[in-house]
Symmetry: C2
Subunit: 356 residues, 2 copies
């Protein structure tokens, strides 16, 4: 099932209008959400739309939030998302970071009282058109066990860094701090296939290849997989994301982060408000002339892209290459949807009297 | 062979004075270098002292540099290390970051024309006493192959992040962006043991367990180890460190980073000056009151430390725990040196007429 981008965008926007989002918010949120589908991170796109709606029904998402700065210095701010869609709160906060960078070279914004913000890369890439480097982190509901822990204490806590180049397309890293994203496990689950060791542990904290291991009380593993392969580093990275996003802002952190699924209740004794994000913007010319930076980035990218590949691999990729290729393809050729996702959208459309 | 900390410090300082470092620089450099030995990162401590001296002989290290800011905004700077010891250049740059953070909330400093700076964690931890979060990155000579590359294009490019807490000791992550640090391979080489798969590839870019694989034209692998286990994420992290440290500052990047070993010549056509570092300092109270932040960091640390451990592991560790324990032990009990390292220091002492 392939749907044209514009059709899916209009549908998403109209659903968001129906739950009470203002026009500009509905448009922005649809743009953010669909950037995931365009870039091939299907688990974070329209597949989640009905999940957002269920959170709104539970009054855990505020469709018309009063997002505001609650603390600031020339280069920093804390933003209170007022329980809004992360899809709207995050671009607000990133714009604050960009404005601060215009004034003093860099801007750093930690966000509380927000919700799931789509793909990390959308927000970091907002910096690119301003000749800035963008950073975007978020915490998320606990699915990941620290090294040596049976318990799940961290989310997949992604890191995205977007770096402008000159003639070359930008460098855009966007990655969960786990060995494998949850979306990859879902693919294996549907195919009833095993996962490689290093992706999941079981409910006793032992290595397992069961792709359903997380659902059975196990956990995703931090990047590295096990101690011998550096899982303590993935654990540290996920922790840094959690602390920058939530301990700095006053959001919930670690095991207290509210679940995305509406059928699980948030902790009755939260340690903060909603979930947290962290954004950064650094003006390239706050370090050296922009043209110098860009020509060296072009040189960097070309040198890495032209490295001698290992057998069976056509070439060395630059972070962002696969997603950019897919975006080009899907913008013109449409977005493939899995049957259950398509049916879920149809049901949503029926309910709100919106045609897909 | 165990040597008291003070004895090793005095020896190191006197050697550095002999090559022409000013008194304060020699003291600072000895402090930075020996912090590696104290914290158990033996590969980055006094074991490298004779290597620094050999670089000085080759005039690739300037013992009396004029380190200066060459570009700045209220929250950023580029520092030119004048080919000085990274052990001295890095603390200078970190102090600049801290001063900027005092003024505008955060400070970000990219450094060119420097050399190896010891352990990343020394510099990030400088922020702690100011109630700031500290960041420290550096690039390094190319030993690491990007995912799908036969060629070595990145250094072990470490990331360190130090975060203050209240009653609990600070969170201090300090990690190479590879699966395993080179020091761990050296231990296996001495024992003539194999490395686990995922640490090293051979000269054809194929997985190998040969602990000497890097010396034979292979490469260290990025954190993740292989594509299935997220090596593209480790590759992206190492790249971000390289770009922030060198493309932002005007240092050499990727395969152009000058080798640490004096017997290998730097590239005759460099793309920048020396090697690069990147530092950040963020005032905690630029986001929320310091006491709030610290009490939540204590809560974060206690919750993670008290997580239910997996069988056979006594407890979940917080980044920085093992190094702090070792530092306490070695400050009082002395620093163990391997025989070849001890003999190397004796030879150095003979040459400069300095007693160990």
């Amino acid at each position: 099932m392939v749907i044209e981008y514009q059709q899916l965008f209009d549908f998403t926007k109209r659903i968001l209008l129906k739950i009470g989002c203002p026009e500009t918010d509905a448009e922005l949120a649809a743009d953010v959400l669909l950037s995931a589908d365009l870039r091939g991170i299907d688990s974070h796109g329209v597949a989640r739309l009905s999940g957002y709606v269920r959170l709104w029904e539970k009054k855990r998402i505020n469709a018309n939030p009063n997002i505001k700065i609650v603390h600031e210095t020339p280069s920093t701010a804390v933003v209170d998302g007022d329980a809004g869609l992360g899809l709207v709160v995050a671009p607000f906060a990133m714009r604050v970071a960009i404005e601060k960078a215009k004034n003093v070279g860099t801007g750093w914004v930690s966000v509380k009282n927000s919700n799931h913000y789509g793909i990390a890369g959308y927000h970091s890439m907002m910096a690119l058109e301003h000749d800035m480097i963008g950073l975007s982190f978020t915490n998320a509901s606990p699915l990941v066990a620290p090294t040596f822990s049976k318990e799940r204490l961290l989310g997949t806590n992604p890191i995205s860094v977007a770096i402008p180049a000159g003639e070359e397309p930008p460098f855009v890293a966007d990655m969960a701090t786990t060995t494998a994203a949850n979306g990859k496990l879902e693919i294996l689950q549907r195919k009833e296939q095993d996962a490689p060791f290093g992706w999941v542990q079981d409910d006793q904290g032992q290595p397992t290849q069961d792709a359903n291991g997380v659902k059975k009380g196990g956990a995703l593993l931090p990047l590295g997989g096990d101690r011998d392969h550096g899982s303590h580093k993935g654990y540290a990275l996920g922790s840094i994301v959690d602390i920058f996003s939530a301990v700095l802002s006053g959001a919930n952190y670690g095991p207290w982060v509210p679940p995305f699924v509406a059928f699980l209740e948030p902790d009755p004794n939260p340690v903060g408000e909603g979930l947290g994000h962290f954004f950064g913007a650094m003006r390239v010319d706050a370090f050296r002339p922009s043209s110098d930076f860009k020509s060296h980035m072009d040189n960097w990218i070309r040198r890495f892209r032209s490295a001698q590949p290992t057998d069976g691999n056509p070439k060395v990729l630059i972070p962002g290459d696969p997603e950019r290729d897919l975006e080009k393809e899907r913008r013109s050729g449409g977005i493939p949807l899995l049957k259950p996702v398509f049916e879920d959208l149809l049901k949503l459309g029926d309910r709100f009297e919106v045609n897909l």
